[in-house]
């Protein structure tokens, strides 16, 4: 990575951590994707390239939401439905933003907010439930070790 601080790049923060290593791992990749989008904007890459990165982010978001939902199903998370609806709403918002913003910087800001709000608010609730109920995730779910 190049000079991140001056690039308006989001750095991984402990606030983002859910403690579920698989989910944190995926969030980090997601964050990298959003950062590479901002990077490409700063490098004044062509519109078509920027649109391709948006597609990459879109596909990764779909994958990641299903990953998270699988974790929640495994542990019988009582707020699964609410959390899943939150995912649907996020995709709905993504859809609106994708077609509404001709301005890529605006779309980047949307993604930033979209990511931070979802991880710090919704996903942290999941973390709380796991900690409070002393659920050993390893019993349910494998860790990725790369």
């Amino acid at each position: 990575m190049e000079n991140q601080e001056n690039d308006g790049v989001i750095k991984w923060h402990t606030d983002f951590e859910t403690g579920i290593s698989r989910i944190d791992f995926e969030h980090k990749i997601f964050l990298e994707l959003v950062n590479s989008f901002s990077h490409a904007i700063n490098k004044k890459r062509s519109d078509s390239e920027l649109y391709r990165i948006i597609t990459e982010i879109e596909k990764y978001a779909e994958f990641h939401f299903i990953s998270e939902e699988n974790v929640m199903r495994r542990i019988d998370y009582p707020y699964f439905k609410e959390h899943q609806i939150e995912h649907f709403e996020l995709l709905d918002k993504f859809n609106l933003a994708k077609f509404k913003n001709c301005n890529f910087m605006e779309f980047y800001n949307f993604l930033k907010e979209w990511f931070i709000l979802h991880t710090t608010e919704t996903d942290i609730t999941l973390k709380k439930y796991i900690v409070e109920n002393n659920i050993k995730l390893e019993d349910f779910y494998y860790d990725i070790k790369i």
């Binding site: 779909e62 299903i66 939902e69 995912h87 649907f88 995709l91 709905d92 609106l96 077609f99």
Partner: protein
């Protein structure tokens, strides 16, 4: 009929932002777009306007399936196709939507080309479907008119001209007699033509509803020969059958029987008294060939050229003055084509005609 060919589209979503976004895609003049975000509104609009396509979001406070249930009982939109919208990861609703019998599902985030293409394809299909239904209704009306209103005056014409002929029996006015005879003959011929047209139309309809079954060709030919036998006997025509290997074909029994009967009855019709008509079968490659030959009047080149041409139905009187409509061979050709078969004809003037029907052999898969 949708005379202006404007596509009428209803978009239903509880979020006004989504409605604005989607209707924006269809702003061009080809579309007439209405939007709705509530069940009540949707029902009212659907009682007012007949749409070509409904685009309904599934995840709403009252879900999209309930909307469709209500729309389906509306008078104007009971058969309007529906495309549901769902988030890409909402697999449960996507699968429910497909099972509900909707036309298609569009997932969010949209791929714009996919959305535009699905909407235009399905709405155009619906418009064409409506046009076909209207044309079919018009056709049925015309046939009803032919079948009744146009048909019954001929019976009067035939009856009265006959009466006229009887009244003129003892007169010396030969030209009046000749004209009365002409009126009578033409009326009889035209009535026959009308009836044949109606039979042709009915057979076409039968063709449209046809279902496939395994048919033994030899058995079917024997059945048809039994029907033809009395007519042949009247002219003392000898019917000869020479069967080769027995084979089955896959098709619609009624239709194939109609085809064989048409050609066989032509052979009898165009054979002189004491003539000779043969039906031979043989296997040629993966086809079974039915050869129907007669020792009749034959046809010249010009007649052969137009034999199967629907624009020039060929009608000739038989050797005993039998009538025809010219539609029999046309229909037979259509039947052969529909069964992936073929009809070929050889003819020589004053020597006779030979029709060769070929149909694909059907063999059941061996297990």
């Amino acid at each position: 009929m949708n005379t202006l060919n404007v596509i009428k589209l209803l978009i239903v979503d509880d979020k006004t932002e989504n409605l604005k976004l989607i209707s924006g895609f269809f702003e061009d003049s080809n579309y007439f777009v209405r939007t709705s975000s509530s069940l009540e509104d949707t029902c009212n609009i659907c009682n007012d306007i007949e749409f070509d396509l409904l685009l309904i979001d599934i995840r709403m406070p009252i879900n999209g399936f309930v909307f469709w249930d209500k729309i389906r009982v509306s008078k104007l939109n009971s058969t309007t196709p529906v495309i549901f919208m769902a988030e890409k990861t909402d697999l449960e609703n996507i699968s429910k939507a497909f099972k509900s019998g909707c036309r298609d599902v569009i997932t969010k985030p949209f791929q714009l080309d996919e959305l535009l293409s699905k909407v235009s394809t399905h709405s155009l299909l619906q418009i064409q479907h409506k046009q076909i239904s209207e044309l079919m209704a018009a056709k049925e009306k015309i046939f009803a008119i032919i079948g009744h209103d146009l048909r019954s005056p001929f019976n009067s014409l035939i009856g009265f001209s006959k009466l006229l002929l009887e009244n003129l029996e003892n007169t010396k006015d030969n030209s009046s007699k000749k004209y009365a005879e002409l009126i009578n003959n033409i009326s009889v011929k035209n009535l026959e033509l009308l009836d044949n047209l109606l039979i042709y139309a009915r057979d076409l309809e039968k063709q449209a509803q046809a279902s496939l079954e395994k048919i033994n060709i030899h058995q079917l030919i024997s059945e048809v020969l039994q029907i033809i036998q009395p007519t042949a006997a009247l002219k003392e025509i000898q019917l000869v059958q020479i069967f080769g290997e027995s084979r089955d074909t896959l098709g619609t029994k009624d239709l194939i029987a109609t085809m064989i009967r048409n050609i066989l009855s032509n052979a009898v019709k165009f054979s002189p008294n004491n003539g000779f008509v043969s039906v031979k079968t043989k296997v040629v490659g993966n086809m079974i060939e039915i050869d129907i030959s007669d020792t009749g009047v034959g046809m010249d080149e010009a007649k052969l050229q137009n034999l199967f041409n629907p624009e020039h139905p060929q009608s000739s009187l038989g050797t005993a003055g039998e009538m025809g409509s010219g539609y029999g061979l046309m229909l037979s050709k259509e039947i052969a084509d529909k069964h992936n078969g073929e009809i070929k004809v050889n003819s020589e003037l004053d020597k006779g005609t030979s029709f060769k029907i070929r149909l694909p052999i059907y063999e059941e898969a061996k297990h």
